[in-house]
């Protein structure tokens, strides 16, 4: 046990010294202000146009309803819009503003948009070379000549990776909150958000809808984002074991993640695509109550798919790593 802890400590410090985490923080510090600025511009431009948020919301509902009447828009977009219109209507009927500008709201929206690409990308910055760099750097021989079983070494690396995934997610949320708060104010933790919308065909079932505080929503969203980020991390971990070069493992994973976000937008009629892990990454759609990328996907289904992929990836990683011949 002590020796395992020592291994984890060794790996953690190694990643830290590679300055991977510092790069991630720098990227966040550079990008989040850009998003905050864009959001501020949107808020400013709509401010003069409408008397109050209710008028703006009414107009949004009317505009989206109009888009629905066109025959030319694809069926999936229609479904998405129907869900949006009915949700906005629900907010309006209960006199709750779904768009109050504050740092918590911004962070939630940011996480929602980041879960598909941005967060996987940051996870890959750590995960892609955690094994392959040992190989390309030649240090793997030193690592394996220690009097420790191979699987223990790999397990230490896996634990290290999950620790960094947690750190990255919390840092992302924290940076987003702290930076956007400068502009939008740091409040909004207790503002209500409605969850529990269920889409039945083209009708929104609102029987299960209840209000929760925005802070709780953020925590739940972070939890779901964590699950999908862990899946990406574990699969990248496997690729890093299988592929010798860091660049190749990074490119493989990027291709998988990007193709997932493309597929999610266009594969709604290819039903078996829902068993791919990359289509299931955006778990926050279930929290928002918007229609999933492919019909028939539910929170439980997506979690199960991601879990199966993760377990398989872990299995392959250990099986390969413990048997692999380490050549020069």
């Amino acid at each position: 046990m002590r020796r395992d802890l020592e291994l984890i400590r060794n790996e953690t410090v190694k990643v830290w010294k590679k300055k991977r985490f510092a790069v991630i923080v720098l990227i966040l510090l550079a990008l989040v202000p850009v998003f905050v600025y864009a959001q501020m511009k949107i808020a400013q431009s709509s401010q003069g146009k409408y008397a109050d948020w209710r008028a703006e919301l009414r107009q949004r509902i009317a505009d989206n309803t109009n888009a629905l009447t066109s025959d030319r828009i694809p069926e999936e977009w229609k479904k998405w819009r129907v869900a949006l219109v009915q949700q906005l209507q629900y907010y309006l009927d209960r006199d709750v503003n779904p768009n109050t500008p504050n740092a918590v709201r911004f962070t939630n929206t940011f996480l929602q948009n980041a879960v598909g690409l941005f967060i996987p990308l940051m996870v890959l910055a750590v995960a892609s070379d955690i094994v392959s760099s040992e190989r390309s750097g030649g240090t793997i021989k030193m690592l394996l000549t220690r009097p420790v079983r191979r699987w223990r070494i790999l397990a230490a690396k896996l634990v290290t990776l999950s620790m960094y995934v947690s750190l990255i997610l919390v840092t992302t949320a924290a940076v987003s909150y702290l930076v956007s708060g400068l502009v939008f104010g740091y409040g909004g933790w207790r503002e209500p958000v409605f969850v529990g919308f269920k889409l039945n065909g083209s009708n929104m079932d609102t029987t299960g809808v209840h209000a929760i505080a925005q802070g709780v929503y953020m925590l739940m969203q972070l939890g779901l984002v964590w699950f999908s980020a862990m899946t990406v991390a574990v699969i990248a971990f496997m690729v890093s074991v299988l592929v010798r070069s860091t660049a190749a493992s990074l490119v493989t994973m990027m291709a998988a993640v990007i193709s997932g976000s493309i597929l999610a937008n266009m594969a709604s009629s290819w039903h078996s695509a829902k068993y791919l892990f990359n289509v299931n990454l955006d778990l926050s759609v279930y929290l928002q109550g918007s229609p999933p990328p492919i019909e028939g996907m539910t929170l439980g289904f997506s979690l199960a798919v991601l879990a199966v992929w993760s377990l398989a990836a872990i299995g392959v990683s250990f099986a390969v790593f413990t048997r692999q011949d380490i050549l020069a």
């Binding site: 410090v13 409408y50 008028a55 009317a62 969203q221 929290l287």
Partner: protein
């Protein structure tokens, strides 16, 4: 060097563990909320918007307008997407010498009178109408002309229109119009309502002219009757605008006005209101 390294691990390790615990808590909470939700936050009950103070427009510093109805109010057919609403309000503002502000265009293309009647029960519409001094309205065209399209006929050629069916639809549609007007009045007792009457989009088809003319006369006449009974509704006639040179003022779908057609409607609306 050695000392620094020693401090890094305890701090980093603890922070990472705490982050993981936090995320696991969030994950568990999300699952619980999705599968076994509890009651949720209690919210204050929503407030109803109070109707705008009535009285003469001359005494108001600013006129708030709302546009509701179907594709004509939405501006379908106008390449610029403007329709008649913005222009007529600009014109009105000029002639009255005070700002006329549009607080929203809630028109939905394809809307029928019965559906509008239903929408007026919703909070969105009620609040919007209650907060306005002026309501611009178009409705009925879809009920009478689109519903009487026979299957297979193309509306662009007008070939599919069945005037007999449109005639049969008149009584129910008129009842819906009356219900809409009554509801608008109930929500806002003092707002002025401008109803833009129907025109014959198939004027080019000579064989349909007499039949549609009689339908339009019936419908528009009914609207005028409603307006007279109310006293604060104006009916803006448009049928004559699209007769002499209908091709010039109708858009490529041969049904909705084009930009120039909407500009003519806008002038009429402004004149009728001032």
């Amino acid at each position: 060097m050695r000392g620094k390294k020693d401090r890094l691990w305890p701090v980093l390790g603890t922070v990472c563990l705490l982050c993981t615990a936090l995320l696991l808590l969030g994950f568990g909470w999300a699952l619980k909320d999705a599968w076994a939700p509890s009651g949720g936050l209690a919210l204050p009950s929503p407030t109803q918007a109070t109707p705008q103070p009535g009285g003469e427009w001359t005494s108001l510093p600013e006129i708030k307008a709302i546009a509701i109805g179907d594709s004509l109010t939405r501006g379908v057919g106008d390449v610029a997407g403007k329709g008649y609403v913005a222009d007529s309000l600009d014109e009105l503002s000029k002639s009255m010498g005070k700002p006329v502000k549009l607080s929203g265009n809630l028109a939905v293309s394809g809307l029928e009178a019965a559906k509008l009647n239903e929408l007026l029960d919703g909070k969105a519409m009620r609040d919007a109408v209650a907060g306005a001094n002026l309501v611009l309205l178009t409705i009925g065209g879809n009920d009478l002309f689109r519903s009487s399209q026979q299957s297979g006929g193309s509306i662009a050629e007008g070939g599919g229109i069945d005037p007999e069916l449109a005639k049969r639809l008149l009584p129910t549609t008129e009842a819906h119009l009356k219900a809409v007007m009554t509801k608008l009045r109930a929500i806002n007792p003092s707002a002025k309502i401008a109803y833009v009457a129907l025109y014959n989009p198939f004027y080019e088809l000579a064989q349909l002219r007499p039949a549609i003319a009689s339908i339009l006369a019936d419908w528009n006449g009914y609207a005028v009757k409603l307006a007279e009974a109310d006293g604060n509704i104006v009916v803006v006639p448009t049928a004559d605008l699209f007769e002499a040179q209908s091709a010039r003022y109708l858009s490529s779908d041969h049904f909705h006005p084009n930009g120039a057609g909407y500009a003519r409607i806008a002038i009429r609306v402004a004149q009728a209101l001032d």
